[in-house]
Symmetry: C2
Subunit: 330 residues, 2 copies
């Protein structure tokens, strides 16, 4: 294992120091592992807090800023953050209008955010939660009851963030967040496993000519092992899975996401196939992202997330955002 | 070799189709391999054209747009584009104020851009060129007489692009581009080699506990092979090399660039070390980029590029930009 780190124990705090140095618009509490907007809470604005295990960068710290999250709580690599982080973040970002927790569906995250919500409520903060569970690959998995939460998290954080920024009340921000999740589906394919610093070896074994279809973002098993195939065929497997689960129609927002070690030129090759597939079905990729947004350390592979758009979602997607990883319109 | 492609021959056109589908602000001539701004030339604005081998994405197509390039000419993987592409791009983007060629210092690129400049001049386009040669690692290399051009290309394209957008004449845009190159230095470290689709195997052999210091962006050899070391030590080797070549002082623009397969969390770990090194020297990282900007397919590793800022360069760096890979302030 060769990793650009100083030691297994210090990866997360070292990276947080780097995030603090690189992004003056963020305030980073390295000791407690919380990344805040530097501007602090805005009175009357709903606060947005997310978090989860590290190793998925830029998720979530890269999405803290104007028009998106107010705070992110990174846990250790592939490990849920603890309730204390979440409570501190929640109480700190509350501007009196309450706080929305955006929670990916993994058992640890769900339990810890639930506890944090209860304890924050006891401190007088109104908290709502949205559970992201967009991954159609498997019904239950190693770390999940129900579907896993993956790429749609980016869409939920962006669109709910825009709603909060516009002054929408908590119930409304929670509603739109739920709508985005309900209209989004994801499917991932791994060309290689990933290696956590602590384990020092790949999370699973994948042969030189094999791929894993329906992979999760921690190396959880997918639906099936398959022989390596051309990009067009791998994309078709993923798109068929999405379309079967939620028939695609109209205008969609689509993300072709790299898992951390996939060259961008290959993601564009995949996006061309996604675009062709959608055209075949009479569906328009009205908005898109191509790049690394929800990664899995050094895994090679990609995931596709599609969200069925309506006018409200387009307007909120297009609203200004200014974070390390998404930035436009301002 | 497992790559997310349809075939070795079709990687570049397939990716160009993906770029066209993902970025409605770009116009892509897939057949001739040229990526243009969709808006076309603006009368009186100096046009900016760059290009080079593919496999370094987002460079250069990801930097086409408002405030940066007018056109990019991607060659085959790690292969210079041909003069015909450059001539077509040059004549197409000329708004009557001339065109600047931004050329990374590789022998093929230099010869082809030179020929393209001469032939474009014969067609009545005034052409100036800036050569980017920022990599301090080696004096000459496999593909280069003199220093290689690497990360500073991003700085040159951004800052010259802002000068052109502001209406500066060709001589002035060329001058500021040359200034950026003169004030910038880069150094890269590889943790793994990269594999081109055509070769199907790594460009060089690197042991399980070795790194290559001073690597180029095509897997060219660096200064030395070394045992793997903590991030802080690898960053120090790179920063010492930069500082020795061009003493660091005042405010700097610094990029910690991933080579394509390096997890973002590790790049932030490296950035924390860069920031600490600069603080030690009394130097301020006034502006920064952390992420994949000049990649080398699936190589693991990083490069650091530093540019000594002055007021003019800060103003031009901060000016609005709207491209697939850099976007702010608009």
């Amino acid at each position: 294992m060769k990793k650009l780190i100083n030691g297994v124990e210090s990866v997360v705090p070292d990276a947080l120091r780097g995030i603090a140095a690189a992004h003056p618009g963020l305030r980073v509490d390295v000791e407690n592992q919380i990344v805040f907007r530097d501007s602090g809470p805005r009175p009357g604005k709903v606060g947005l807090v997310s978090g989860g295990g590290s190793g998925h960068e830029p998720l979530h710290a890269g999405f803290v800023g104007y028009g998106m999250l107010d705070a992110a709580c990174p846990g250790e690599i592939f490990t849920s953050p603890v309730p204390d982080q979440m409570i501190e973040a929640t109480t700190a970002v509350d501007g009196g209008a309450g706080v929305l927790h955006i929670v990916k569906n993994y058992t640890g995250d769900v339990l810890n955010f639930q506890l944090a919500a209860e304890l924050s409520a006891e401190e007088g903060v109104e908290v709502a939660s949205v559970l992201v569970d967009d991954d159609v690959a498997v019904r239950d998995s190693l770390h999940t009851a129900g579907r896993r939460g993956t790429g749609a998290t980016v869409f939920v954080e962006k669109i709910a963030g825009a709603a909060a920024e516009s002054g929408a009340p908590l119930a409304e921000v929670a509603r739109v967040a739920g709508t985005v999740n309900a209209r989004s589906r994801s499917f991932g394919v791994a060309l290689s496993a990933c290696t956590t610093p602590a384990a020092g070896r790949p999370t699973f074994a994948l042969g030189d000519t094999e791929v894993e279809l329906g992979i999760g973002i921690h190396g959880e098993p997918g639906r099936a092992r398959s022989a390596m195939r051309p990009a067009a065929e791998l994309v078709r497997v993923a798109m068929d899975a999405l379309h079967e689960d939620l028939p695609l129609s109209g205008d969609v927002l689509v993300m072709v996401n790299g898992m951390g070690a996939t060259p961008l030129i290959e993601l564009y090759v995949a996006f061309a196939e996604v675009s062709a597939y959608l055209a075949e079905k009479g569906v328009t990729a009205a908005r898109s992202l191509v790049g690394d947004y929800v990664t899995s350390l050094d895994m090679q592979g990609f995931s596709i997330t599609v969200c069925l758009l309506d006018d409200e979602l387009v307007r909120l997607w297009d609203a200004p955002v200014e974070t390390p990883a998404l930035r436009w319109g301002r």
